[in-house]
Amino acid sequence: MKKLLTALCVLIGLTTYGQTTINPDTVCVNSVGEQYFVTNTAGSTYQWTITGGGGSLQTGQGTNSITVDWGGASGLFPNAVEVIETNASNCPGAPVLLDVFILELIGTTIGPFCPGDPTTPLVGTPAGGTWSGTGVVANSFQPSVGVGNYVLTYTMAGCSTTINVVVNNGPVTGPIQHY
């Protein structure tokens, strides 16, 4: 029983505080409500500063946990998140910094297709992501899926973007007649 309780506590601890963010942190362009935190110390206050990337602090200033809305500019923003802890004796600690990479995904438009068209590779920028959706096999689109409008999604590092692909009807030719 004691071992079970210990395992549960460890699991809860890992779930709540065990996350470790790799520097730089990656967020999606125009993402909102991104939560950042440091381990809380009783009696301490926390001064957060957000710089670059069109970021703005939304909630939690003074506490150990904040939310941030990021802007539309993509790229790497060094020291974009900074926090300074001040303890109960009013002594500040050293600034703790986090770089932020704002990721913007772009999917290259393809089509329109006819059902008999060959399989077409899907291209996303930056490369390395994954395409998904109806008619997608191994990051390529197969028009043979049939006539219709398809929304294909390109996903990478928790971000995504979509493109619309159209497969039109081909001409319907009647049988050859002989006068």
Binding site: D25, S89, L98
Partner: protein, 186 residues
């Protein structure tokens, strides 16, 4: 031979009593080390004062490091079998001869303010000090300096005008600087 022994004993006596103060002791409650906001009660006792050449004890000066604040007297020294007068608490006082003193207690002799008291002790006194709010390891030294009236200017025939300060505490503020872990992102 007897005369020689007398001379040797006299020399030995003068050497031993080159200081007027002896048997000094103290208590600190609570004991160190100290953090910002700590309030410390200091009790100091001078067991004996030997006033060579009618040199009288005149003042107890408290020397504090910059890490202390809010010095408050609790009990003044006694004056056993001493001159008429009383011990007065002063943060700063300039004696008639120009000597600057303070903070601490000085004896106001009812007959001549320029003199101390003929008492030889013991003298026990207590005071309270508080550790400043600080983020740097400031000096917390506490020492007691005893001044005779040859120092304060009332008597020119003193023979122990350079009693060294008695160290009560030697340390620095124990500061706690927060160490913040890395920033995490849910």
């Amino acid at each position: 031979m007897k005369k020689l022994l007398t001379i040797i004993l006299l020399f030995f006596t003068i050497t031993t009593y080159s200081q007027c103060v002896s048997n000094q002791s103290f208590t600190l409650v609570p004991g160190g080390p100290y953090q910002p906001g700590d309030v410390v009660t200091v009790t100091y006792t001078l067991g004996n004062f030997t006033g060579i050449n009618i040199n009288w004890i005149h003042a107890f000066q408290i020397n504090l490091g910059v890490g202390w604040t809010n010095l408050t007297p609790i009990t003044a020294p006694g004056n056993p079998i001493g001159s008429t007068g009383s011990w007065v608490w002063d943060l700063q006082n300039t004696f008639p001869g120009g000597f600057n003193f303070g903070p601490g207690w000085r004896f106001e002799n009812a007959g001549n303010v320029d003199w101390g008291t003929s008492s030889t002790g013991p003298f026990t006194m207590s005071f309270q000090v508080t550790v400043n709010q600080t983020c740097t390891p400031d000096d917390l030294d506490i020492s007691m300096e005893v001044f005779d009236d040859c120092v304060t200017g009332g008597w020119s025939n003193g023979n122990c005008c350079n009693d060294p300060a008695f160290q009560i505490y030697n340390g620095t503020v124990q500061i706690v600087i927060p160490t913040t872990a890395n920033i995490n992102h849910y």
